[in-house]
Symmetry: none
Subunit: 205 residues, 4 copies
DNA sequence: TATGAATGAGTATTCATTCAT
DNA sequence: TATGAATGAATACTCATTCAT
């Protein structure tokens, strides 16, 4: 009797490489981040992934599906990163620093915010909801970290969710205006200081 | 010399109506703000302005031209608004409040940031520069107002330009998450408080 | 003052030729008749009409629109033909002969029935209704002619509408099996005879 | 020689279930009848049969093959039905009635004629011939029955083949316009009466 | 026997732009 | 000033078919 583990269908050429589906997703993520949803065509993705358009469609039923999958997985990675940082034992301000660097490096050419919003006008409600959820999860992870610091008395109690929104927002702006500053370093430091002072001086509510 | 009271050329039928060119620009601005550059076609603009596409092309050589003109003029209006507010005599915090309301109201459905960035990948360098300049002018106006407050000792000296960036950024984020808050009022108040504390506690540099 | 009759926009190259729109419609009708709705692409139409696909779309918003217009106008022509024949003064049987010939000649390669039904699965409800209506009108014209003959006592009273359906149906079948007969003449004669006897022997209802 | 009772090869798990190939054929027949050849994709068939597309291709080399097999087998079944009815001993008119009901019920959603013709433009000559043959066989079965009635003096001698074509043609039209009549019953009765009078009054040739 | 992966060629439709009046 | 006609290039998506297991 045959080993029932045997794989059906045509197998991957080289099992050590990324699967075609993963390659497509990876390339798509980069491209969407770089130029945004409407400016990237399925042809662009196919060409860069060195497969035919039909292959892209074999793995992702629609452009929406591909985009949504790309964003959701990206958000999950970012959320994971945030959680990992907050699991550490450093003081909050240092965590924020680490976070800021990690985030800015990871999303090099992109504006996650833009990324999300751009799609809103093109996606189905279901897809939009998925996006929104994954985005929200990210903010919630950050909120949780901040809240913990509030509960630990490290900073005064205030609206931790709003703080997380503002933190992300500040990072983005910094990045968009990178050229106006000497270094990424400068932006991060000054932004964090600014944010920190905002945080530190909230009247308990 | 002609009497400057006298209108040259054939006068518009109804002087209260906008010129065709202005109608087109106005409509285009609204549409671009609503959906972004790539999602609005020249046909959309033409239809909504109730002229033919050819007429749009008569007044604006390319879509880029139209978009750039729309953004630049919008930015000029916003910049003007900022300057007017800062010319007043209220305390800085109150000015920021006024500004926040005015801005959020004016840009109801839109995200200026998105608006600007979206175009970057589609526009020629020349057009991009024009956009960047007009955006910069807006930030500079805000920066100037903040700097004035620093010089007057109203708040401590720090990076006024960064502060202006952060302020705008916070407003946008707030707006995008409007649904997380009870009212526009809440967002503005909390954001301004947060920003204010960031501002107020900067160590002099 | 300019003549207000002046045509706006780019005019037809040669005003004696068919307008582009008419050319497209004519070609499309022929093609759809020959091969049916699903097998004819907008590209096919464009190529045969010697214009670009975009031009076809300039004149007809969708393939459905083009198809519907083609069918409706064809049906109108057929209906008109039927009415003209029935306006004459010959005996009914002769009219049917004339009709049969005219119809078979006009719809050379086609099966109007096929033509109509094929579309049913592809068209919107609105388009389907238009088709159905134009088809119905044709049957009604025939029905009216037959009814007149009944009222005039030329043939016994019976269901004139069913008779018109059957008449058309017989013609089509005859045509589809043309090769089994010697000549178009044979088919027409025998079919009409058959139909005639069916008509002539209906018991009054 | 093997005992013919014994099944060769691995027996099907559940002998009541259709073989995969038969399932595919059955589903395909239904789908093609419903929507016609061009509108049904191999994917549609595969999905509805709950197998993969590759499996369909394992059993049928091409879409043409599948279609042709579907039609030929359908025609064989119909032909068989006709023969069985004509083997009976009722008067011809009653046979036609029975036939009409059986046919209209069996081909519920379809127009066999349409079904056949639609394919003509897509199939190879070889396939077309097969289709034509199986269709012809059906008409011949009907023709034979009618001829027998003529020879038996039940109806006057005339072109039995034409009569069979017309009979089928009339049935179809009736079905397509079902909604214009009260019941299937009405259509059948009236159509048969009409046909019968056509038949009964042919001059001997 | 059955399947997962991949593809080349096509399909309807859109869009920025040009041109002649 | 404004327009009707025309187009080249792109866009999302589909489909019959092949291939290696």
């Amino acid at each position: 009797m045959q080993n029932s583990q045997r794989q059906l269908g045509r197998p991957r050429k080289d099992p050590n490489e990324l699967s075609t589906k993963d390659t497509i997703l990876q390339i798509a993520t980069v491209l969407f981040l770089e130029k945004g949803y409407p400016l990237i065509s399925m042809d662009d993705v196919a060409q860069r992934a060195d497969v035919t358009k039909a292959t892209v469609y074999y793995h992702y039923r629609t452009k929406d599906d591909l985009f949504t999958d790309a964003v959701v997985k990206l958000m999950e990675r970012i959320t994971g990163g945030i959680e990992k940082i907050f699991a550490n034992d450093m003081p909050l301000k240092e965590k924020l620093h680490t976070l800021a660097y990690a985030h800015l490096r990871a999303t090099a050419n992109m504006d996650v915010n833009l990324f999300m919003k751009e799609a809103r006008h093109s996606l189905s409600e279901e897809h939009e909801k998925q996006l929104k959820d994954s985005e929200d999860q990210m903010y919630r992870a950050l909120e949780k970290g901040i809240q913990k610091a509030m509960d630990a008395g490290e900073i005064p109690q205030s609206n931790a969710y709003l703080s997380s929104l503002l933190f992300m927002s500040m990072l983005i702006i910094g990045k968009n205006n990178e050229k106006s500053f000497d270094t990424l370093n400068d932006i991060v430091s000054q932004t964090i200081d600014f944010f920190w002072d905002g945080l530190a001086n909230q009247k308990s509510k």
